[in-house]
Symmetry: C2
Subunit: 126 residues, 2 copies
Amino acid sequence: MSQSSNKTEDLPPSRQLPRSPCPVACALDILGDRWTLLVVRDLMLGRTRFKDFSASPEGIPTNILTDRLERLVRHGIAERIPAAEGSKRFAYKLTEKGEALRPVLRAMRDWGLVWEEGTRAALSES
Amino acid sequence: MSQSSNKTEDLPPSRQLPRSPCPVACALDILGDRWTLLVVRDLMLGRTRFKDFSASPEGIPTNILTDRLERLVRHGIAERIPAAEGSKRFAYKLTEKGEALRPVLRAMRDWGLVWEEGTRAALSES
DNA sequence: CCATTCGCTTGCAAAATGCAAGTGAAAATA
DNA sequence: TATTTTCACTTGCATTTTGCAAGCGAATGG
């Protein structure tokens, strides 16, 4: 029980997290891919169920969705709760940490609306 | 010259850009990976040369850096200029579109500082 | 009870990533 | 000018991640 800890110390350097103490780098360690922030967006739009995320227009593959939901929960950004009382199916909702990502998504939305042609907002102002 | 246009129409659906008209999705089509926004961060910190980006603490591989700089230039976020007048080497700087990403990076930095332990800001207030 | 939906899992091909090593031109130095 | 060093990549290759389709058991609805 002395070799191979539960941290990332024995992984190749590129997979060790965090890559640096930079808050941007740390954020990207968690959120830096093509899908994760889209799931967060969906959560901010009030979607809660696996099938809802799956039905979003970008068409996230279900295995990726499973992985990303797990990652969000593991990092305390989302939580998994019963879909209804007594139900054995689950819903997801943002934690406080996840809600705190709103300014990031807002800034990204605003940038996209101004600089990328043909985009239109789904999230209204808030 | 009629088959295979310069767009993404003949790529598999998952690689077609944009994935949707959502401004967040469009932004992520360009910026959604673990490295691109770190290069943008470096540019915002005033770094301009390939070697500077390469020397950042996260240690971006040089082949990836080449690819990401190219992508940023292609999307009009950065531009490639002579490193000095008369020099045949190049420097990179943010365009107006790239500067417009500052709120995104700021929001991400603020989130990281609050929610990820052990992070410290490199960019000061602005 | 039966059909349908949900929330995944699995298998596999293709693409992206990470690493080390190499290269040729440009710049710095002697 | 000659030599060395730096720079900005490129290449090759192993590993990892992604995307897609199909399948599957439990939960739900009728």
